[in-house]
């Protein structure tokens, strides 16, 4: 797959999402299901490394690009991540004029739709990632930590990696 096509596919996913993780279902659909250029395991790995990388949570997309097409793919992922942010400038003008109700309603709708899609994707990825009882235990412990504490995802992922090393 060329870096240009990859850029357009990843751009489509970022433009149609409103947070770093809600573009996952579109990337999964386009690159894993339809084109077969990325595996579920690679997507999981990109997510795991993305959770330990400084900056926006969406950095997993750079790694998706890297896994699909090497360094040109990583550049495509980086550009796809950055491009929609430019839209903030015209939106700043709209916000200053106080015309945000329709855009805000549409954004709310998209966040709800994208969250449902992400939950479905997480369940699918979970079936690939959690294949043994010890890994299920690690996943449940991570869920408990992220839900009940303020421990940063970085430390949870690193702790889980250590647990994986010991338990599996």
């Amino acid at each position: 797959m060329s870096a240009w096509v990859l850029y357009l596919l990843l751009l489509k996913a970022t433009v149609l999402s409103f947070s770093g993780l809600t573009s996952i279902p579109l990337v999964h659909e386009d690159l894993v299901v339809r084109r077969g250029v990325l595996t579920d395991e690679q997507l999981n790995t990109a997510l795991a490394i993305g959770q330990t990388t400084p900056g926006p949570i969406g950095m997993w997309m750079v790694l998706v690009g890297f896994f699909v097409a090497g360094l040109p793919g990583a550049a495509a992922g980086t550009l796809a991540l950055a491009t929609p942010a430019i839209l903030a400038v015209p939106l700043l003008g709209i916000v200053r004029r106080g015309r945000t109700d329709v855009v805000a309603g549409a954004a709310r709708g998209i966040v709800i739709g994208a969250s449902v899609l992400t939950l479905a994707t997480a369940l699918g990825l979970g079936a690939t990632a959690v294949t043994t009882a010890p890994l299920a235990l690690v996943g449940v412990a991570a869920l408990g930590l992220v839900a009940a504490t303020r421990v940063a995802p970085l430390w949870i992922v690193l702790l889980a990696g250590g647990a994986g090393l010991l338990l599996t």
Binding site: A107, R108, I110, V116, G161
Partner: protein
Amino acid sequence: MAVVRLILPLILRASATHIGGTATQAWLRSKLVATGRLSADDFNRCFAVARLTPGTNLLAFHVALGYGAGRWRGALTLLTVSTVVPAVIAVALGVVYARFATAAGVERFMAGAQAAAVAILFWTAARLLAATTAERPLRGAVLAAGAALVVWSGAVTPVIVLLASAALGAAWLRADT
């Protein structure tokens, strides 16, 4: 560009050390608003715009912040810094992973890390869904339930689900409806 020069080192530091939009924005607020480099209103305006901009909130936040401080030059400077620095770190980690992926220890470490990543993804989506539906509980819940039915039926693609959600949201979830 003088203001951009004041903000740039903070963005650079945040991009290299903080993970995720919320943590970064909270830290930047403490550095910019508390020290008088940016008013609370300007910060809130940039925050709101970032929530409304498609894609990654944090990058849109930096663009809005940069545009306010130095127009297009400021916006593109902050966007470049806040994208390229973490992207280089991510690729470096990806290269290390690709080199050692077959080592038994790395495989076991990544298996545990992936289980946690999926759990965090699940929790993040659930929390985002709960927070967004709470703004308009009944209509939000109806939209979420409808989206869930459509997604699990597999009848339409994710793009259609998102476009339909946007149209319904614009009509149903506006502040004045």
